[in-house]
Symmetry: C2
Subunit: 422 residues, 2 copies
């Protein structure tokens, strides 16, 4: 008998028919003797509907008081889900009980709409499990020290599930979603992409932060910190497949670097076109320019990703960085009005038609020449590299957006991901 | 400066446009210097939508565990409403904060789906009011001693508003609804029906329990117990009408019997066609038959309204009573299978095509012959009376359903309600 946490996404909870299937699947696990905790998302579309209503009424300035009410409203989507799933389980003949985050309680800080979990009291849940009940807990939310409802931000239910699994020292946390695991890259772009049976926690973290949408990045960080065995698998397999088969499906995120994993130098190719590039041109080259530029950007709460400072030429240099496309216009305006005059730079140029492509692999640590192989593959396709950034287990390049698919396919082939057994 | 509680029904909260109007109206009151607490219902249709989802998944037996989940689900409708109204008030430049029942807290017993309020802690609300905030509290719900969410049953938001007003000793509780007050009878049946400027608490209680749908009966009981000044008024007047005019509109439910009220012998005519009549025929007339029949019915949790035992004839009698039409088939079956054999009665007859018409008036206490005047008016229209029941301030008759409108019109005229100034 194990303690298992299941997490179901909004699509899996999208109708009463699908909720009934979730209930049958959970009942199967419970009947096999496992203690079951389930964390469902809101029914698909519900969170958007609720936030849409709020937006129609929104005040001009986005105060904390406003954010507090957004959480009050948005948290109801998951509350409906847990109640419905509990009822569906009771209809299956199971004992079940649902809890909102505040009832557990899942305690968070007071950063409304993007709160962070601080602690989870599992006494009530343990008592229910001991009494033979399936316990269903709302994802995405908690309660702050003042007794206000908080939410964890979009996709926060993954984090809730992992946090509950960590607090309860669950044997495994299964994330049921609409894909059947983590792939070497997006199969819609590279049909030869293969599902990975295992991926290391660090690789998963890079994949998540680089744009692979399978898991919310904070949930991966949480799993890493507390070493929660995490599996991503499909909720669209028939609910009555053999439990042994289901328990091995999808992709397991592991913490041990076994030999097999060492063999693959690159595990996957990640990419995104969410970023835009901004270049401050003709900056007088003196100490502190990076701080002068990026300090102002950070103060405006804008996240910067790739950063590049060119070699100086005749006492002047160019300074480039990327931001999320949603922040592009705001950043350019900020630079033009506040930073440029002070800095004595010539002008600000920008490009929203870029993309970032990355190779990720724990094997890169012990293999030399991996980045070089990447650059050669791109060069053979005639793709110009605009920016480069590296970490211990990944190398990313910024290129023209129109080459994105071509680059991903070329790299997938160059690193033998098409054939390789994982 | 007064402490005022506003309650808005589902229709008044039915869209973001209407919520914006509610916010403007509340802001007007707050700007006039009043401390404002607002209790809104769920957006119209929302509670039905939520309970409809639950019903699609419902287990066969309706256990407490199931009822608990229904409350978990249904309570979210009001939670969305309070958040949206708080945002709309902030957009109007007001300070506002919303609370779910459990946050106040509004403590109830554990009778899920029909809980009763036990106590309200107003410390948090008072602190917010003192800080200049409008406080918005979910109707319809509370929290039990175990920390579970409970709901008060359909229409429970009226009760929540009155309970909050009672706990806070509010100066007045204004119930905004889709009618503009309490009428002498339903204007759809009697076009001459007039709005009452005042009605006594006891009359309102009779009107509510007799089928007038303006206020939930429990809210009237609560108002009576704690002497909460209660006003029913329309939420469809323009939000910017003068506050002095608005404060006098609708119908005030009063606790003092002033002279003016004494003048009207009958204040209103109530009616409903929700009941069915059941007659147990040929019952051996011996002590205890009422208990034998109605005891079994009560045990099955069926409410009985009008009761009539005929004069005995040759040692046998007939025993009639009315139940809600929804309980009719169940009651007849119960009598046939369990009560009849034991009792030695002849048979059970029933009639679902009846209605109950009542005259209500505090003046009936001190005026003789009011019931006789009622019977004469009905007799002049050729309407046969099947059952009669009286209390200190009302007389009800059960008649054939097809005469309902005719009887209401005849009585409205007979008691001078058409012309009388209220």
């Amino acid at each position: 008998m194990a303690l298992i946490v299941h997490k179901y996404g909004g699509t899996s909870m999208g109708s009463t028919e699908r909720i009934r299937n979730v209930a049958k699947r959970v009942a199967k696990w419970a009947r096999a003797g496992h203690q079951m905790v389930v964390v469902p998302s809101a029914m698909s579309g519900e969170t958007n509907r609720l936030l849409g209503l709020a937006k129609e009424l929104a005040p001009q300035s986005h105060t904390d008081a406003y954010a507090r009410e957004l959480d009050m409203i948005a948290s109801t989507g998951e509350q409906v889900s847990v109640g419905l799933l509990s009822i569906a389980l009771q209809a299956e003949g199971m004992q079940a009980v649902s809890y909102a985050g505040w009832q557990v309680p899942i305690k968070t800080d007071s950063a409304y709409t993007k709160a962070r979990i601080e602690s989870i009291d599992d006494a009530r849940v343990r008592a229910d499990l001991a009494a033979g009940k399936v316990v269903i807990i709302t994802g995405f939310q908690g309660i702050d020290a003042l007794g206000n409802i908080t939410t964890l931000g979009r996709g926060g239910s993954d984090t809730s599930a992992v946090a509950v699994a960590a607090a309860m020292k669950a044997d495994e946390c299964l994330i049921y979603t609409d894909v059947d695991g983590v792939y070497t890259t997006d199969p819609r772009i590279v049909p030869e992409a293969r599902r990975l049976h295992t991926i290391s926690f660090e690789e998963m973290l890079e994949m998540a932060s680089l744009g692979s949408k399978v898991l919310q990045i904070r949930s991966v960080e949480f799993a890493g910190k507390y070493r929660v065995p995490l599996r991503v698998l499909s909720s669209f397999t028939p609910w009555d497949i053999a439990i042994e088969e289901e328990a091995k499906s999808g992709t397991l995120i592991t913490f041990e670097e076994d030999e097999k994993m060492e063999q693959a130098v690159v595990s996957g190719i990640a990419f995104n076109r969410d970023e835009a590039k901004i270049t401050v041109m003709g900056v007088p080259d003196k100490p502190g320019i990076a701080y002068q530029i990026l300090g102002a950007v950070a103060e405006a709460n804008i996240d910067v990703d790739v950063i590049l400072q060119n070699v100086s030429h005749e006492g002047k240099t160019d300074f480039s960085f990327t931001v999320h496309r949603n922040d592009y216009a705001r950043t350019v305006e900020l630079l033009n009005t506040k930073v440029l005059p002070e800095l004595g730079a010539e002008k600000v140029a920008g490009d929203t038609r870029i993309c970032k492509v990355s190779i990720v692999g724990i094997g890169m640590r012990s293999h030399v020449g991996v980045a070089a192989a990447m650059f050669r593959a791109l060069s053979e396709e005639g793709i110009n590299i605009q920016m480069i950034t590296t970490s211990e287990i990944k190398t990313s390049v910024v290129i023209d957006e129109k080459y994105m698919e071509l680059a991903v396919r070329a790299l997938h082939r160059a690193f033998d991901l098409d054939q390789q057994a994982s």
